[in-house]
Symmetry: D2
Subunit: 351 residues, 4 copies
């Protein structure tokens, strides 16, 4: 069984390679009669495009989305929604030199071992470019979530060791790093410039917050809401850890410090991150995704070629210095897909 589909009620299937003709997604299970036009999706794709910030790739893709099916007179019909984005600025020349060399930290070697063949150009299917399709699907998911008053925000709480000092939601879209604080964004910019100059790359942490989520979402015992969120976020290339609510910290809390006391109007605290026993409790859902540094760096590293011969590599090309900020809308999209899927799944139960 292959693995390019996600969700059970709101099912997305993505396809496409970094330097192929196009990328796209088929969304099966979107409820009918919802308003949907290309601009709803385009706005989100634009947020994922290279920011112009230091450290951002120079590949310039318009990422113009086209709706090929599933809508009629600008409304969803309940049939599959097919979205396509053509690749316009792929430049495969830069990849010729490394076509037979495995980049450390990259999927080159594992794709080769798994399939015995790979499209090496731009990372092929393993490229971050694949997330265009996720963001597009997430935009459609948000149209459904809007009907329920569910909002999903994502922002960079840490980049290259620079931690956000506060969370001002209004600041997020006012800086190229999706930092929740303008002042922090400036410090991030400086740090990224330094790292870029050294030919290296950087990681960070993204936080996603779901507001307005009803209680009752999540399917014990395996498709728990937090389990599906963890999978969704960990399925993004650069993510190496996921935590829900107090997350890592709960290891050192006592029960009396970790439990959220309950009052008639809700929970006194939110260490649970809005999920108890795998089911949403009505509070904000909060998760954090840890982003590793981009593996393609200019600093020389030891590696092997496809004949297992030792060699060294220094990756030039048009690479981002960090998956942040572009990964931020991707995390947001994946959370959207999980919430909408469970929202529809819960309809079969009622309460």
């Amino acid at each position: 069984m292959p693995g390019n589909s996600f969700g059970k009620s709101f099912v997305v299937t993505t396809w496409g390679e970094s330097h192929g003709k196009a990328l796209g997604v088929v969304i099966d299970g979107c409820p009918p009669r919802l308003p949907l036009s290309e601009s709803d999706i385009q706005n989100e794709l634009d947020r994922r495009r290279p920011s112009g910030a230091s450290g951002s790739t120079k590949r310039r893709e318009p990422d113009k989305v086209e709706i090929l099916s599933g809508t009629f007179e600008k409304k969803t019909t309940g049939t599959p929604i097919s979205l396509i984005v053509y690749n316009k600025d792929a430049d495969s020349k830069a990849y010729k030199d490394i076509k037979d060399i495995f980049r450390p930290g990259h999927g080159d070697i594992t794709y080769q071992k798994k399939y015995g063949i790979r499209d090496h150009r731009g990372g092929g299917r393993a490229s971050g470019r694949e997330t265009v399709a996720r963001v597009a699907a997430g935009a459609v998911a948000q149209v459904v979530l809007n009907q329920q008053g569910i909002g999903i925000t994502a922002y960079t709480v840490e980049l290259a060791g620079i931690r956000a000092e506060q969370i001002n939601v209004k600041d997020i879209d006012k800086n190229p790093f999706f930092a929740p604080d303008i002042h922090t964004a400036k410090r991030m910019e400086e740090r990224i410039k330094e790292i870029k100059a050294s030919g290296d790359s950087a990681g960070g942490i993204v936080e996603v917050r779901v507001t307005g989520c009803p209680s009752g979402l999540g399917e014990p015992v395996f498709d728990k809401l937090d389990a599906d969120l963890a999978k969704a976020v960990m399925s993004i290339g650069a993510i190496k850890a996921v935590e829900i609510g107090a997350g890592m910290k709960t290891a050192r809390l006592l029960g009396s410090e970790c439990n959220d006391e309950i009052a008639p109007d809700g929970f006194a605290t939110n260490r649970s991150g809005g999920i108890l026993a795998g089911i949403s409790n009505g509070d904000d859902i909060v998760l954090r995704a840890v982003v590793k540094p981009i593996p393609s760096i200019q600093i020389v590293q030891r590696t092997i070629d496809i004949h297992s011969k030792p060699t060294t590599i220094s990756v030039k090309g048009r690479h981002d210095i960090s998956a942040i900020p572009r990964i931020v809308p991707v995390c947001q999209a994946m959370v959207r897909l999980v919430i909408v899927d469970h929202l529809l799944r819960q309809k079969t139960i009622g309460s």
Copy 2:
């Protein structure tokens, strides 16, 4: 769609409540002609039983497993393997007092909101007792993994703030905490006694290591090996964070510090945790699961009853002080299920 099945090629479906007649699991997709008898499974269930250590529940379940189908003359036949464990020592009296009160940190309130009804006795389906079925299924998975020389070890790297000082695999089964170091185990015992005395509970961290795993397992782009591992582990009740390889730390590493250089005989380091681009790279797979404290504590907490009236609660009953150590074989079982599932899935691809 409900969520009590896990896996696509090696599919396990669990059922049962803490104080119901029995718990069990149906395993569909186990390859035929493998030797399997009840003792293979019983050994693993025995490791999950209350340890006798301080802080362990006093409920005494023999957890005797019976194979009801799927084997013939002690070999698997390729048909579904049904396993059952009867509940023998359930004592529902202790739960009468809290049947209408929601325990903070517990699934009482979310189950009620999701289903509009719940079996309150012993936590019903949300009880840790549900994991008996997971461990039994994991034992069957291990029979398949043994054929491939794949080993899976799990141990407690931290409990109640006490961090393991070293990893001696031989020590793991020689102490009641599955600590990888006898000396650490003693310190854990002392700390747990203190917490027990205070009526509180504790969390910790479990590490799981897969050895002998071939490269090529994991299905891009959504069913990546790390994505499915994250889901598997996060689907265990008490887990609040999952990290792969260097995990959380990668947020602050530079690319040159994070990438594992490659030599003809393998990777120089293993910060990736054995997975690149969602596909196993042949190195050891390493993950850590963060365990929150048991929510049922004797310390008085504020909460509400099912009529939304404020009240307080102090949970007596026969509760563990920490999900560790019993959650250790559960984490191990879930990783077994993921690896065997992807091992079978990869067979449809070859390389």
Copy 3:
């Protein structure tokens, strides 16, 4: 991927062999808060038991069902419902002689080729006894259908060449063949006696009718309602053809003879069998399943043994002369499972 589960929203997973310890089913996705007790299920299992009519097996199984999970105070809770039926009267001796010989028309040879091993006793997993689990699950499905006023009737329209002369629903449970007409039932009894005397076996046709089914069920383009019904019914061992509505006859009708004209109060005719473009149209759903003769006959046939040596076989044992009547409640159960599954699936769409 294995195949012992059916349905996407109301998921049943069956397990068990003819001469194993027990048979059972796990039902995942049954809505909560519905009244359910063992007698609801037992009644249906009793209808499937050997009838006492001529040609019925002499194996006497009480087929007593036990609910092991998923209910609390006689109501469903939304958690998996596990049902078990122990085998009490299996007699494996009769099968010793044919353990190494493949019975013509039977799955002996294909199970051996597929799995390289098989439980030969009583046909193992390929036995009609497996359908006990289907009937039990169907009984639970009917509890859900009752809430919606959906009724499902099944009856024998033809047995051993004897065609039912009329459809009197009241007669169905008044004769051992589930014939919809007492007079026909008598003729069937006579014909079956003759066939039994000759050591042979017989086939027939079962019709299933769904009343009160709302329009809108069925998921284009692959999970059409008729497609899932065809699969459900064809998955029963002895079925070799399935037709919906006018079925086979439509091959020779003209469009003007086949189309059902539409009036404000419904369709003028029902050649469509209640399904248009894979979606229920609100009319009765009607399908017919063609049942081949039982392959185990006393008449001597040529065959081979497991070493491919030619031999002959005359099957003694305690075999039915026809899968009818016992297959009638099985067809009914499979249709119940499809309708309830699509009823729940449609909830995610609304209209």
Copy 4:
């Protein structure tokens, strides 16, 4: 859960409406390193195009297929294969008159009831045009089947009451009806002309034969090979009945007449249609699909409009007189998809 995907190991997801921008399919799970280019697919699409025979639609679509992803240097890579066919000759004007009227025998009314909205142009998603995507996917499946020496043939055994007199495989592609006999084809042509002149439409029967299929394919107890074939074929719009092997006739056979005796070199007869207990037995797989007449006819019929007002309809437009011959390659494609899916599924078992 939506229903636009088919298969578990070789998963196809189709999308697109009759008068939308394009139609397409994503194939997930195609093994890597197989030769694949657009011409492999185009040949099959060309067979499905209007034949020029009497009774064929006048809509002229080039049906030019484009591979958008999943291949590299004309070989499959194991990543999703996305295929697209643009609609070029859609003429929605003819549909304006019937946009608010439900055509008898057509999905207009059920789509409206299910989704509360529909793209009425050309039948939208319910159009036979949707099968372009199935045929394209089937062509890719055949590339895999070719590796195993599995061949799949489909032909018209009956059209408008004219039964094929013999099966000459070579004749199939030499006449516009895919009749297996030239002489029969001429009689079909005459009969179709008459029906066309009367403003009516006709049905028929398609037979599909699989040669070279290994034994062991099919997954008991629900995903039996015949069950999945029945679903696959019944999921095609116009099909109302499916039979395997002797099919309908088995109802009136005795066991001694129905069983296929077994010899060391194979089965003496093939009434089973190559499948025993849901598993392929190594003999040819044979099935027949019954095709109802096209519902859109010129003859005046009574119906209602979307406001439930009675009215009449005479459908003009560019309609085929029968789904045969164009449905023949569609049946073939669906069988290809089932066989390839089970071929890959069986790899997880071995024998």
